[in-house]
């Protein structure tokens, strides 16, 4: 008799999901599924709206990374208008994205994930959160809060509000950097850098100690990696071109044109989840599985281009190899990217172009289809619009970072579950807290933002069930 283990919902991720583990008739693990169980439908209800509204509308997809949709929508709008935006606007958008990545990574590392590392996997779940961290390491908790505040404040200084600021628009941005904003950023940068140093100093020693097993267990498998790189192969987060590499470091495709994404990416669907399964089309859904996000960006680039971040990247590669294949390393990659963002902000904020008042061009519709791409904190984000003669949207396709990691997330869950359920699971067996914690934490490596395809609502208690094929509840475990 086959059975299913369900973890519903998964906690400390952005959104709502559940995990089910499927056992065969002999009680052996047969498969794992990461279910996204809510539907939002932005692609459909954007139809009929002017493309100029897309930045404002799609930013509402998420309260965590609205900037990512804002930028992708603005870039798509630039192309529909046939505009090359002013250099000041290009740099200001970059500054916005750097701040966004910084604050989002701070949220992921300090608020969501570090309690696992620093309090231990077996720590009582009610204490394994930011408040538990606050009690155990108040300096780190305080610094993490201040770092996220730093990134969010830059978003507010540029766009007038922390979330959903419709500041980037087709043709550029609405306003330059003010003197006051520049001064504030420069004043707070040293503290932000100190926080990044503190986090790295706390985290890296754990990799050779209590976190060794997780590095081998959490998504350690070969896959492809996709991300933007600059003209010389350097790390990039908004411009540049797409590069796809394999786990052995070979470049499978370079200078990929986002306008032709449908020729190299396909999206599979399953009837048990609302999250699609993008894959590299030439290799098919199995071999074409790829990962995006901070780890992918570090894997595809040659270098970052700033001294401290490059030193951290070298250390990461020295520990894991040139291409890092363990998804647990996403956490360290986030810290490296925080450093990269802070160094880039430091260089950028003193650029006089940022205070140039020529930040926006206006134009008329030049074409009826365009694709914009940007790097969201969680990975590459595609916006594809088709419009009619009046600029009204007739079709939208959004390929979200979390979706692109979907195949890898499912495989990660399976890998972890196999470790904790090595043999047949007897009927009525207790579901261990260790399995529960690791499976959730495995998903959390990817920092999935399910708000992009679901709605983050309500409390997030945890329920794990062992269910027989006939629906009989064999075992259950609840949390929260």
């Amino acid at each position: 008799m086959s059975r299913t283990v369900i973890i519903d919902p998964v906690t400390r991720i952005e959104g709502h999901a559940k995990i089910s583990l499927h056992l065969d008739g002999e009680g052996r693990l047969a498969g794992a599924r990461f279910h996204v169980v809510e539907y939002r439908g932005f692609e459909k209800f954007c139809e009929g709206h002017p493309f100029t509204e897309m930045a404002g509308i799609t930013a509402r997809i998420c309260g965590i990374c609205p900037v990512s949709h804002l930028l992708a929508a603005a870039k798509t709008g630039d192309k529909l208008l046939g505009l090359t935006i002013p250099p000041a606007a290009q740099k200001l958008r970059r500054l916005l994205n750097l701040a966004q990545i910084c604050q989002s990574h701070a949220l992921s590392f300090f608020h969501l994930s570090s309690p696992d590392f620093l309090l231990g996997w077996e720590c009582e779940p009610a204490r394994r959160n930011l408040f538990g961290l606050m009690a155990a390491d108040p300096d780190l908790a305080r610094a993490g809060i201040r770092l996220r505040q730093f990134g969010q404040q830059i978003l507010e200084l540029l766009g007038g509000r922390k979330i959903h600021a419709a500041w980037a628009v087709p043709g550029g941005v609405r306003s330059p950097l003010s003197d006051g904003a520049k001064a504030w950023i420069l004043e707070r940068l040293p503290e932000a850098r100190a926080t990044a140093r503190l986090a790295l100093d706390r985290f890296k020693p754990l990799l050779a100690g209590p976190l060794q097993r997780e590095q081998q267990l959490f998504g350690q498998f070969p896959s492809l990696f996709l991300g933007l790189v600059g003209v010389d192969g350097e790390w990039d987060c908004i411009d540049g071109q797409l590069r796809l590499i394999a786990s052995d470091g070979s470049v499978l495709a370079d200078h990929l044109n986002e306008d032709e994404y449908a020729s190299f990416l396909a999206e599979a669907v399953e009837d048990w989840t609302y999250l699609k399964f993008p894959y590299y089309k030439p290799l098919g859904p199995q071999a074409g599985m790829y990962r995006v996000g901070p780890l992918a960006r570090l894997n595809v680039c040659e270098r970052i281009g700033t001294p401290w971040a490059d030193a951290e990247l070298a250390e990461l590669r020295a520990h894991h190899g040139r291409v890092v294949t363990s998804s647990f390393a996403y956490h360290q990659a986030r810290l490296v990217e925080i450093v990269a963002c802070l160094e880039a902000i430091e260089q950028l904020v003193v650029d006089p172009d940022l205070q140039d008042r020529r930040v926006r061009l206006r134009g008329s519709l030049q074409c009826q289809e365009a694709v914009g791409v940007s790097e969201a904190p969680r990975g590459t984000l595609f916006h594809h619009y088709q419009v009619d003669d009046n600029g009204l949207i007739t079709r939208v396709n959004l390929i979200i970072a979390t979706g692109q990691n979907n195949l890898a997330m499912n495989r990660t869950v399976l890998q972890i579950a196999r470790e904790f359920i090595p043999g047949p699971l007897a009927a009525g067996a207790e579901i261990g807290e260790a399995l529960l914690n690791r499976v959730e934490a495995g998903i959390r490596c990817y920092d999935p933002c399910l708000s992009c395809s679901t709605h983050a609502a309500g409390q997030m208690p945890l329920r794990l069930q062992l269910v027989a094929a006939d629906g009989q509840l064999l075992a259950e475990r609840s949390r929260g």
Binding site: R12, E14, L130, A135, R142, R146, A456
Partner: protein
């Protein structure tokens, strides 16, 4: 945002979603406050941890939020996502079942224990942290501010009786009628501080 070096004495935070009917009342009231020296205003969909750093720098805090109005019909009070189009909101139904409790609005002070240490439960009496990155209770946010940054402001909240949380920017008629009363209380809270300055 405050100018560099300046510290606002008072902070008003409006909480809610302005696109979900009555839920946006706190946001709307906060957004409508005129700028004045010593007063900072924020509009938030939820209370998030990073606000703790800001709270530690102010003397007084006023939270404005929607509150699901209790009625004598139990089922009605259990669903925060009711909309005007649902049968519970049809006039006939309301006449029959809806008997809202019309209490005067008042500012409620949110107190914190004197020396609770670093246990969150000691601060709040419960665990308001659900593990997500947002959605802190006022007590949890104040605890965060006190524990991590050494101080928390004296805090009041004004809860406004709300009924309709469906899509839209409008307010239900019953809530709209309470706006003058709410504004008087907010103005009085702000003026209390300004009066203190005037007498200092």
């Amino acid at each position: 945002m405050r100018a560099k070096g300046a510290v606002a004495a008072s902070l008003v935070i409006g909480i809610g979603n302005p696109l979900r009917g009555d839920d946006g009342i706190g946001w709307r009231l906060a957004a409508g406050l005129a700028a004045r020296p010593g007063l900072a205003v924020r509009c938030q969909q939820q209370l998030t941890p990073e606000l703790a750093a800001e709270l530690a720098a102010v003397e007084r805090l006023l939270l404005l939020d929607a509150w699901l109005e209790p009625t004598d019909h139990r089922q009605l009070g259990q669903d925060r996502l009711l909309s005007e189009s649902q049968p519970q909101f049809q006039p006939q139904f309301q006449q029959q079942y809806w008997q809202p409790v019309q209490r005067p609005l008042q500012l409620q002070e949110i107190g914190l224990p004197d020396r609770p240490g670093r246990s969150l439960q000691a601060w709040t009496g419960a665990a308001p942290w659900n593990g997500a990155s947002h959605g802190l209770s006022p007590q949890a946010l104040l605890a965060l501010s006190q524990i991590l940054f050494g101080q928390a402001p004296r805090t009041h909240q004004l809860l406004l009786p709300a009924r309709c949380f469906g899509h839209g920017q409008g307010l239900s008629p019953s809530l709209a009628r309470r706006l003058p009363e709410a504004r008087r209380l907010i103005t009085g809270w702000i003026a209390a501080r300004e009066g203190a300055w005037a007498h200092a």
